[in-house]
Symmetry: C2
Subunit: 141 residues, 2 copies
């Protein structure tokens, strides 16, 4: 797509990233990178899988399939591979028959879970307000 042009960051975001204020970023695609990161991470199956692993610790493939409601084998595999590639989970293969594969969150994965926690609690607090707004909107139109 078109290259990211504007450097836009809110002052309220605590920047762990050191960069002179008011100047254009040394990393022109920082926003794009961050956006990509969020887009990847804010996936339905990723979030559900993250949650399941966060709650239960180490899980096997079929256990995950049972916990992540509605997921297909295909999507679960895909999601786990992606999360492994991104460094969110470790995949441990025990060379036994029948196969045994265990998945655990890494520190990075756990930190992601914590970060999403605030959105999660926000959603818990506000989903009623959203539904109310939707009803009001529907009646208005």
């Amino acid at each position: 797509m078109a290259p990211t042009k504007s450097s836009k960051k809110k002052p309220k975001a605590a920047l762990a990233f050191q960069s002179p204020d008011g100047k254009s970023s040394q990393h022109p695609d920082l926003d794009a990178l961050v956006q990509q990161t969020i887009a990847r991470v804010a996936d339905k199956w990723t979030l559900l899988t993250l949650e399941a692993l966060d709650q239960h610790g180490t899980l096997r493939f079929t256990q995950l399939a049972g916990l992540v409601d509605g997921v297909s084998q295909k999507m679960l595999t895909q999601t786990l591979r992606q999360m492994e590639a991104d460094g969110f989970v470790t995949r441990t293969v025990h060379p036994v028959i029948p196969p045994k594969v265990e998945y655990t969150l890494t520190a990075l994965g756990r930190s992601l879970g914590e970060a999403f926690c605030s959105v999660w609690t926000w959603a818990e607090k506000n989903y009623k307000a959203i539904e109310k707004a939707r009803t009001a909107y529907r009646e208005r139109s």
Copy 2:
């Protein structure tokens, strides 16, 4: 073989929004509701629009189109309608010629921005770790 069938099953799993399973579900799972909420909110254009409005306060349609990098008119309209319906923005039409329409965040919208701030910050802090993990994964396989 019966793949990934858990206690709850959906006749057809649509993306994100789907409520009732078999029973008269006046109480879909809280988790499901929260998940739906996040799925809706964690949309690319929604996040970018939210950010633009959070930074600039009140904006007109074309201003938003300029700020939200890469968005098409179609998607911008769709996103704004959705956000309005969800109670995140107010849409003020000034009955003048040529048309003038202004968009502002509601309190709910602003609170969402704050909640997402932690994820945003997390992404800023960790996107390098993710890229590193990806490279390592690629080399590993």
